[in-house]
Amino acid sequence: MSDHLPIFVFVSPFLAAICMPLIGLNNPGRCRPVALTALGTMFLLSVATLWRILGHGEIRYAFSGWAPPAGIEWVADEIAAIMVVVLSALAFLCLLHTGRETDTELGSRTVPYHAILLTLVSGLTGIVFAGDLFNIFVFLEIAALSGYALVGVSGGRALVSAFRYLIMGSLGASFYLLGVSYFYMATGTLNMADLAQRIPDLLHSKAVIGGLSFMFIGLGIKMALMPLHGWLPDAYTEAPDSVSPLLASLVTKIATLAWIRILYRVLAAGSSDTSLEIIGLLWVVGSLAAVAGSLLALTQQDLKRRFAYGGLAHIGLVLVGVGQGNQTGLAGGLFYLINDAVMQCLLFILVGVIARRYGARTLDDLGRIQLPPPWIITGFVVAAISMIGLPPTGGFFGKWYIVLSAIEKENYVAVAAVLVTTLLTMAYFMQVLERMLRGGQTGPSAQKIETPLQLRLSTGVLSAAIIGLGLWSDRVVQVLLQATSQLGL
């Protein structure tokens, strides 16, 4: 039975999503508990999947019983299982932290909101597990379509951002699909394992090179890689406060994971006999994105926008690690990806709370409000320490492995890029912290604003997770190293 775990992980949010219109038909208030239950179940199942995979190796799941090259296959390896655990936990906490406020804010949109949120989560799960290129496209679209709807769910200005996101996202998906069709034309198969056997002989074919370029551009838009990031800052800034943590922490990260998977699983980018320049390109693009993203973040007044640009820089850092083409870099990049998801989630939850409860959306507003309660300050400081990359948080160890891999490769430009990014990140966080802490002394002594239990729970768990990922970083990295060792590095 444990071989079927990946499908159960997928079905629990998906089933809840498709039942949502019926559940909320008479009483929309029922949607929230059902959605939370589904995500909680999904978390437990994904932990079970991870346990099973760590004990018995990866699960290859052939749908309908058709053998892989002809049928559809899901591959649940260690990386996928860890990612799904992170995904389900973050989705649960994102939904939990807002409390019942979303229901009253959204009004008649409550039912579709919960249905679409769960569809987004199941789409992302599908991308993580998918074992062939076309299914990555299908789930990419499911997740993206839900993303557009979620950005625009509050109406008004958000609709413009959602429309922009829709145009850019559809362009990205089309580019990706075009790339997939080129691959199919050259090889006659879409299954990743099957492709991996046929691609090495075809790497000089123009169809494969063209397809690869299209895929990279398409997924580059999806992962908001500088300079293809145009849609992201607006979408994150205008999205409702309950949605932007989910988008910021998961959507771009999962697209990045899909690209890493294609590079290493299909193209065998790590092995020395394939002279693939794209790996070299990756760290250059990543370094540029990291430095430029942090610089742009420094100039932003709006808090959400500032951290959205910060997120762009962190995607760049992941690619710097992955682009070194050695095992340390790949494991470090993946570890940083996981950390970044948790950090962004906490950061956007806190920014959303500060905006909603204190009305502070920009840097100047921060100086005017009263000192937020210790829960928020502590969470913010933990997130800041991790984003900057100081021990004992996960962010430090992620950067550590990325820098190590660059030194291993004697790639000092990449080392410099990571260090400059660190300094810039410190600069833009110091500005925020300085305003936030100084504001408390001069601000008006307004009425005490209480922090609800579920908010304390989410920020507490996420802060603990950031520190925990740091303290137990060697274990997680060991698992990732073991997982990446099969990729021929």
């Binding site: 499908i7 079905v11 998906f14 039942c19 219109p21 019926l22 749908f63 309908s64 019983g65 008649s108």
Partner: protein, 150 residues
């Protein structure tokens, strides 16, 4: 905006005769999909079209289009059928959607596959029809402040 029934008595009478025929043909296409061209998607589109035709001819408030309205509320039913077939296959010990293991007692493997594909097609058809109808409702039959059909 569709507000009331069609003005012309000819359209109304012809529509009344045509819609059931379209629906029967849609069902035929759906079940014939097992043996030849056709199947859930096409059958579902035709079924949806017949409902849309009903709304255009008799107006969204007519008693005969009540079904179409209720249908639009049951967005996920087709997918639920689909997931249920997949789940029955899991219970039978096979992979998700492995029809050979469809857990329905008293059936041999070939008829299980037949039934499995048919049920999945019905699920697809319901979903397509509902989607078509709900697109029409959300684009043209806007009621109140436009908030109800988001």
């Amino acid at each position: 905006m569709i507000e009331s029934r069609h003005d012309s008595v000819i359209v109304r009478h012809l529509g009344g005769g045509l819609i059931p025929l379209v629906q029967i043909f849609a069902l035929y296409i759906l079940f014939f999909g097992q043996h030849g061209p056709g199947g859930g998607f096409v059958g579902g589109v035709m079924m949806g079209t017949s409902f849309i035709l009903g709304i255009l001819v008799f107006g969204p408030t007519d008693r005969s289009t009540v079904v179409a309205k209720r249908v639009a509320e049951a967005d996920g039913v087709g997918l639920i059928i689909f997931a249920a077939v997949g789940g029955l296959c899991l219970i039978g010990g096979g992979q998700f959607l492995n029809y050979a293991e469809l857990e329905i007692p008293g059936l041999a493997a070939p008829s299980r596959r037949y039934l499995g594909i048919l049920l999945t097609q019905i699920g697809v058809a319901v979903d397509i029809a509902v989607t078509a109808v709900s697109i029409v409702f959300s684009l043209s039959v806007v009621s109140g402040n436009g908030d109800s059909h988001v």
